[in-house]
Subunit: 225 residues, 2 copies
DNA sequence: CTCAAAACATGACAAATATCATATTATAAA
DNA sequence: TTTATAATATGATATTTGTCATGTTTTGAG
């Protein structure tokens, strides 16, 4: 099994602030795991006894609303940690995590992480900085949800996905979200999301091939009124 | 000037995790300040060189949206800290803070806080737990914004304000938010917020006197469809 | 490859919300 | 106290978004 000390992924998250010794210790008790597209990593209410370090693939974090619809709150990418919040807050998971494509993750037991949080101020501060940043992002999402139109939010997601996950060799967004996923990110009905994507298609802002989407005019997409 | 070591307010925030010595040091360089209702404490984009510890009063944290409307993201209360996120994230303020009533705050210079964050793991971990909790709250707000109706969200704010700030001797909500503030919390047009409050009044859920609001039927308010 | 299930698409209509206009009432400064 | 200003209130109407129905296309299991 590969070793944390040599793993390049940790450069992208707070684990980079651990000492060599701490990494060796974590490496000794971590477990690696392959997760298939569509698989549930954990669900709302689950008790997490560790964190996941995402080595490859993407998953969605969602929450079931009182109206029965899922709201996707965040997309978690290669390099991100998963589950820190519940662990640190000593609470059960507030969100469900479901793989959007095949994933490879490492699982680090709770007690290892908590130990390091208590002993390594640099690690804790790094985690704190990461959370401060996430909190800022969250505030911005709240503002957008509250103030922007659905059309605008759909455009924003396309731009976001384009920037964060890029495109494949043919120019299609390299993550394939279903129309329902788009609706659940934006917070609208699936039909509404579909309608807006169709409209974008008519206006030449995007083209599609099956569920695949290619952005044709990023600038116009950025300036949806 | 009063001393941090003896201040009861710190029990409500992460400052409770500081040692006696650290508190004495902070006490020596903090400044106390009175802020009048309506006064701007800081604005989006400002560089904060410290955090505020709220000893009394309430303020709103808001962000100007691209459509020109203010979105209120959070109400900050007695006992809360203000400005930690920008400080920790090493960024300029992402939100504006405006007093909703007369406030009393203590200002603690940046370098003192950062010093303790680097030296006292207990303090950092406490702050981290607080942020994990805030992040969970934020996720829930996002879900509500995305999935609940405006009417539902207005009811939720009334319930929230009632629970967190209580009522005065006559039973009116003890914080007086303007109708525009309510609209800016909920993320709707001021007229829509007014209309919904009027409707609640007709249905006997609330009564009003000027801008003051009294909840008459909390149970029904909690079960708006 | 075939075919049933799921995902996508679109029309028709209903409901929710925003916008604009215009009163009315409350508030605070002179 | 007066009075200008801001806040609250409400009607009329437009726009946005959701819902239900139904058809088409895509996908993946066998």
């Amino acid at each position: 099994m590969s070793k944390c000390e040599q793993c390049i992924i940790r450069q992208f998250n707070s684990l980079k602030s651990l000492t060599k010794d701490e990494l060796v210790r974590i490496s000794g008790c971590k477990t690696s795991r392959l997760i298939k597209k569509g698989e549930i990593i954990f669900e709302e209410g689950d008790t997490l006894n560790g964190v996941f370090c995402v080595k490859d693939g993407v998953c969605k974090l969602s929450k079931l609303s009182s109206n029965g619809k899922d709201q996707i709150v965040k997309l978690v990418v290669k390099g991100d940690l998963l589950g820190q919040r519940s662990l640190i807050g000593e609470e059960s998971a507030n969100l469900s995590a479901i793989a959007l494509n095949d994933m490879e993750v490492c699982f680090i037991p709770k007690h290892e992480i908590m130990h390091d949080l208590q002993k390594n101020p640099k690690f804790t501060l790094d985690m704190l900085q990461q959370m401060a940043h996430d909190l800022k992002d969250s505030d911005n999402v709240i503002v957008d949800m509250a103030q922007k139109s659905v059309k605008n939010r759909v455009a924003d997601v396309l731009i976001y996905v384009n920037e964060h996950f890029g495109v494949d060799e043919k120019g299609f967004l390299s993550i394939n979200l279903s129309r329902e996923d788009y609706a659940n990110i934006v917070g609208t009905a699936t039909e509404s999301a579909i309608r807006i994507l169709s409209q974008f298609k008519k206006e030449g802002l995007i083209t599609t091939k099956g569920k695949q989407i290619k952005i044709e005019n990023l600038q116009k997409l950025k300036h949806i009124e």
